[in-house]
């Protein structure tokens, strides 16, 4: 019993004192935001056909479907082309800012709004990759994903340095952003733009906005540091909880994909992989497909290997070494799928989801390599322009990804 309570208190300390896994949360932030950014840029010439008011899935059709499913989208606020272009541009900007970690919390909220708005507007345009981004964009809002590898982290370092020199750093951008989002939220609510939508996303927007105000107020509260610590503790809990959900989601993706395959006759007879390679919609390089499918043994190995890896993946998390091997396999397989089945954005999204399981030492090495490479490119060796990984202590300090 004593041991149990000790374990429990250790666990509580772990989930409340720090936002865990700063590198993992940063790498998935960069991964998902970059995937969506590249997707939006790639589809830029097709944007009107996919999500525009006059696309095949017209504004009226979307209106009728949304009247039934109540999903969140700001694209239905107006059927003008101008509004659509604005939202698309904002979605691109939010994805870029989130990838860079600029005002990470606000960027993550805007990123979610962008992803949900476009995808819910035209649900029949998406595929599995869109589905992953859809879910993760919501989960990311709850994380402190800008603790490392972000402009926020760099800003925090510079502010600390300035403070150490006795200078007073005044932040004007933060309050301005907060005020602007407040105006939009109030206007949207007052004009009834959230009516008819499910309560979840609008209340999440309001909650995020209110939380930033609370965080700021608690910081100014001079009588006691307690409110600020409490908010910090809650923010850590939310971060750690969301990270757990993200990991569980990745496991559920693999488990579902794997366990349902086991029941299929083609996965049992070892020919399943042959078929997608010969579907017109998933064979950008038919010769490559033929080459891979030339050997029956080869196809069977890949078929069985895929199922085994997907079913096994969640269980391998209990063993670090096996997990890492399988993780590398999954990433390689997704990279192959990107090319062979012509699903680059799906694969990128899945690789980003896998990255949440990457070991910290590996990520830190990756970070310093990237920083060194960036330093070389900028011709200033040693002064990396990309915010590199930081020492563990500052990395875990709860400031950067906190509300806003």
């Amino acid at each position: 019993m004593n041991r149990f309570s000790l374990t429990l208190s250790t666990a509580i300390a772990r989930v409340t004192e720090a936002a865990r896994a700063p590198y993992q949360s940063a790498v998935i932030r960069i991964g998902f935001a970059t995937t969506w950014l590249l997707f939006l840029l790639r589809e830029f010439p097709h944007r009107a056909e996919l999500y525009g008011p006059d696309g095949p899935w017209s504004w009226d059709l979307a209106q009728q479907l949304l009247g039934m499913n109540h999903a969140f989208t700001v694209l239905m606020w107006s059927d003008s082309r101008m509004w659509f272009e604005t939202v698309y541009a904002l979605a691109v900007a939010a994805a870029a800012l989130l990838a860079l970690g600029w005002r990470t919390r606000t960027a993550s909220v805007l990123f979610m709004v962008g992803v949900l708005s476009l995808q819910n507007r035209s649900v029949f345009m998406g595929d599995g990759g869109d589905n992953v981004l859809h879910l993760m964009s919501v989960y990311l809002v709850f994380t402190r994903c800008g603790q490392v590898w972000s402009l926020d982290a760099r800003r925090a370092r510079r502010r600390d340095a300035a403070r150490a020199r006795g200078e007073l750093a005044v932040d004007r951008v933060g309050p301005a952003l907060w005020a602007a989002s407040g105006v939009v939220l109030v206007a949207a609510t007052a004009l009834g733009r959230f009516d008819g939508q499910e309560w979840l996303v609008p209340s999440l927007l309001w909650a995020a906005w209110a939380a930033q105000a609370a965080w700021w107020l608690a910081g100014r509260f001079r009588r006691s540091p307690q409110p600020r610590i409490l908010l910090d503790v809650i923010t850590n809990m939310l971060h750690n909880g969301a990270l757990l959900v993200i990991m569980a989601e990745a496991c559920l993706i693999y488990a579902t994909a794997g366990w349902y395959k086991i029941q299929g006759s083609r996965w049992q007879d070892g020919t399943a992989v042959y078929y997608p390679l010969h579907l017109d919609y998933f064979s950008p390089w038919p010769a490559l497909g033929d080459l891979l499918a030339a050997s029956g043994i080869m196809v069977m190995l890949v078929t069985y290997g895929t199922v085994a890896a997907q079913v096994a993946f969640p269980f391998t998390l209990f063993n670090r070494r096996v997990k890492n091997v399988l993780l590398a396999m999954m990433m390689v397989e997704h990279a192959a799928i990107a090319v062979v089945l012509g699903l680059p954005f799906f694969s990128l999204a899945m690789i980003a989801a896998d990255a949440v399981f990457l070991p910290t030492p590996f990520l830190r090495r990756l970070g310093s390599l990237a920083a060194r490479a960036a330093g070389r490119v900028s011709g200033r060796p040693g002064t990396a322009r990309v915010p590199g990984p930081r020492a563990p202590q500052p990395a875990e300090q709860p400031q950067v990804g906190s509300p806003m």
Partner: protein
């Protein structure tokens, strides 16, 4: 959690990260309180650092605030568990629990957490389903003629061939629209429910857009009616297999659909609500 093992070893004792508990004069919600300025003891060898009491986490809170933290922890823990459980039940096959509480699960999951990961499962699709269309057009000089069949899926296929970054307009748009259409129509091709009607309008608009791009009506011409059919062809079994599969295409032909007056795509929007049957 062992993914973070390397990290976990570093946050014991004196190195526990701590927020500066002192209230910050710093303005802006965007400038959250930062770290205690790096003190001398922090970067030095942890062994020498005296084990200072943690200044963050619940331990740093007074009993009154600890109650608040406990409540928050309970709420977050329950929400996380319920959410993971609901997503699990949503992706799991129909079972005792989902049969009894399907409505509550759907209530939680839809619309934003819907997901489907039966990727190429239980079996991968083993046939190519091509969507073809022909049109009855009124030419510029008033004649009415019927075009040949346009294989729109083959057009998609050509656009995807050799393309490292296929667009959703090539890979998903028509394919998923036709999927949506067949899923919301019964065997005689009649729409089922509102979604059936929506899917028909959607398919018609895609087809018109494509016919327009292909210049099916010719200069000055107008598409009056369209007819869609699907051609399903089995993927030939692999060369090493002894399986025999009929490779004869199976056609499914829809009735002719009238195109609302001046049925080009930009104006077809007005017709979205009105059925064309």
């Amino acid at each position: 959690m062992d993914a973070y093992g390397g990290h976990g070893t570093q946050d014991g004792g004196a190195e526990v990260p701590r927020p500066d508990p002192a209230p910050r004069p710093g303005p802006g919600g965007a400038a959250p309180a930062d770290a205690a300025p790096v003190t001398e003891e922090a970067p030095t060898a942890p062994a020498e650092a005296p084990p200072s009491p943690p200044r963050t986490g619940v331990a740093a809170l007074s009993p009154r605030y600890q109650i608040g933290a406990a409540v928050a922890l309970a709420v977050v823990a329950v929400a996380v568990c319920v959410h993971i459980g609901m997503v699990f039940l949503h992706v799991a096959p129909s079972n005792t629990v989902t049969k009894a509480h399907g409505e509550a699960i759907d209530e939680w999951i839809y619309p934003e957490f819907e997901q489907n990961w039966k990727l190429f499962a239980p079996n991968p699709l083993q046939q190519n389903i091509a969507v073809e269309v022909r049109a009855e057009v009124r030419t510029a000089d008033g004649e009415t003629r019927t075009t040949g069949w346009y294989d729109l899926s083959a057009e998609d296929g050509r656009a995807i061939d050799g393309n490292p970054l296929p667009s959703h307009t090539q890979q998903n748009e028509l394919r998923r629209a036709f999927d949506f259409f067949t899923n919301t129509h019964n065997a005689d091709g009649r729409p089922v429910g509102v979604r059936g009607t929506l899917s028909e309008t959607y398919l018609r608009r895609i087809v018109l857009l494509r016919l327009d791009r292909d210049g099916a009506a010719g200069p000055g011409g107008d598409v009056r009616r369209i007819q869609v059919r699907s051609r399903s062809t089995a993927v030939p079994p692999p060369s090493w297999s002894r399986e025999r599969v009929s490779l004869k295409p199976v056609y499914r032909t829809m009735p002719w659909w009238d195109v609302p007056a001046a049925g080009n795509t930009t104006q077809a929007r007005a017709a979205a609500a009105g059925g064309a049957r």
